[in-house]
């Protein structure tokens, strides 16, 4: 199942919310300390991998505190349901794994994601430490009480939805449903078919390039539906045009070989893109996540195609040229003799007939890099459509206060809202 850091942060937020509920549970001190080894280790990985300088002093302080926890996993834990601390450790470990993906993203996205991650990490550890200090029975004091008290000073961010920038780190698999799975399978097939310059075929390279163009067209269509005035649409269209050019081979060049695997994956990709564009599909933010994820995958395949074309163009060329074209620039008697009765001739030593194709793929990859890097930032500031927002009249209930609802200045907003809600319900009983 496809997952992103954003998905994991939403899950983490729910776990922290559950942790904050007063449950009155106690755990043996040894069990809490054992779970903290895993939690601190996962948190340390996230802190180390958090992008850019967003981490700042606060995260460096956090890293120092985490450094005082034992790092070895300790004795094996009895199997069974996960304790809340281990659930947090699992989510943080998954975030750390996704952070090693290194997607092609802009500095702005890295900055936003870095700040969000640092903030959520502190809030999560703060909630976990507070929970641990309360869950510990008085009879068995915790050896880790001091660092836990330091961590308990951090507060969780109450906002349930992290910014879209955190969806840039997204992992998809071949078994995923819809476009995610189709793109993943297409990428695997493209790599199998075109990565090796000794076996790559013209149609494999053309299908790969045209597939990238189609993915760019899909990204442009999503950006156009959600944010038509932004640069995401123009950048994605530019990349699509560039890859369409790279997919066009002149009629006088030929590179034989098989491309069956990619041919089937390409048909599958085409169908998945058509289905994804059907009306009544996924919510806007999810469409952007999927389109961006597909661009990232296409960018990886684009790099492979450009690399292979470089080898094909400048290495030992396997490219064949139409005989009449060869005779046009190599009219030596040997070539005239060799070309007699032939349609095609292999590239002679020192001839780089595929050079313009390599140049086109390089240009296309540059355009795709630009489109991919900025896509989420450019298309991400999505406003809900007018019909979903409703008219001002529809929203009037939001600003109506219940009668006799007074709000103490030091009352928590959530508590105040709950009290107002209860008092308004009571009027109808």
């Amino acid at each position: 199942m496809a997952t992103s850091i954003r998905d994991l942060l939403i899950r983490l937020n729910a776990q922290v919310r559950d942790l904050n509920k007063p449950a009155g549970v106690t755990r043996p001190a040894a069990s809490i300390e054992l779970d903290w080894r895993h939690l601190a280790s996962a948190a340390h990985r996230v802190a180390d991998l958090t992008p850019a300088d967003a981490a700042g002093h606060a995260t460096r302080r956090l890293q120092l505190i985490l450094g005082s926890f034992p790092t070895d996993p300790g004795p094996a834990r009895p199997s069974g349901s996960l304790d809340p601390l281990l659930e947090l450790a699992t989510a943080l470990g998954a975030i750390a794994d996704l952070l090693t993906l290194h997607p092609q993203v802009s500095q702005a996205i890295q900055q936003v994601a870095g700040v969000t991650l640092a903030d959520r990490l502190q809030g999560t550890l703060g909630a976990a430490a507070t929970w641990s200090l309360h869950a510990q029975p008085d009879s068995s004091p915790l050896a880790l009480e001091r660092p836990l008290r330091h961590l308990a000073g951090y507060r969780a961010d109450p906002s349930p939805f992290p910014p879209l920038a955190t969806a840039a780190w997204r992992l998809t698999g071949c078994n995923d449903p819809g476009l995610d799975g189709a793109v993943a399978r297409w990428a695997v097939a493209a790599q199998e078919t075109v990565a090796d310059p000794r076996t790559a075929s013209q149609l494999g390279l053309q299908l790969g390039a045209a597939g990238i163009a189609l993915i760019c067209r899909n990204a442009a269509a999503v950006a156009g539906r959600l944010r038509p005035e932004g640069p995401a649409l123009a950048d994605a269209e530019e990349a699509a045009v560039a890859w369409e050019r790279a997919a066009m081979w002149p009629a006088d060049l030929h590179l034989g070989g098989r491309s069956t695997y990619l041919r089937d994956a390409s048909a599958n990709l085409r169908e998945a893109i058509t289905n994804a564009a059907a009306p009544g599909g996924a919510p806007a933010e999810h469409q952007l996540e999927v389109a961006h994820s597909a661009l990232q995958t296409a960018w990886q395949v684009g790099g492979i195609i450009a690399g292979t074309l470089h080898e094909v163009s400048y290495g030992a060329s396997r490219v064949w040229t139409r005989a009449d074209q060869v005779l046009r620039y190599l009219p030596s008697p040997e070539h005239v003799l060799a070309a007699t009765g032939k349609d095609w001739l292999p590239d002679a030593a020192g001839i780089h007939s595929a050079k313009p194709l390599h140049q086109a793929a390089t240009n296309a990859q540059q355009a795709l890099t630009k489109a991919t890097k900025h896509y989420l930032a450019a298309a991400g500031q999505v406003q809900p459509p007018a019909e979903a927002r409703g008219s001002d009249q529809d929203l009037a209930w939001e600003v109506t206060t219940a009668p006799n609802a007074s709000c103490s200045p030091d009352e928590e907003p959530l508590t105040a809202a709950r009290r107002r809600h209860l008092s308004s319900n009571r009027r109808f009983v």
Partner: protein, 94 residues
């Protein structure tokens, strides 16, 4: 690759390449999708070891029609299947 006898399937492959290039050059989403369908059919032929033959320039639609006519006139069921599939995919609008 001898020039002596350009076979109908080679000519069909030439037409498919030509049509794909024209559709890609149109730089619109439908054109890209149709070009991909042509390239997929070309890949089917290429996998059977068919080399492309030089073809006269025709508009994309006519080139595709010429290619499918040539494929469907072949005695081998495999070639007819490739032609039928090409037409089916194009008609579906994918």
């Amino acid at each position: 690759m001898d020039a002596a006898s350009p076979k109908p399937v080679s000519t069909a492959l030439g037409h498919l390449h030509d049509a794909a290039a024209q559709l890609l050059a149109s730089h619109d989403p439908t054109g890209t999708r149709r070009a991909l369908i042509c390239l997929e059919a070309a890949s089917d032929l290429s996998d059977l070891g068919v080399p492309p033959a030089p073809v006269p320039g025709l508009p994309a639609k006519l080139a595709i029609q010429r290619a499918t006519d040539l494929l469907r006139s072949e005695p081998q069921a495999e070639m007819c299947g490739i032609g039928d599939r090409l037409l089916r995919e194009l008609a579906r609008g994918d």
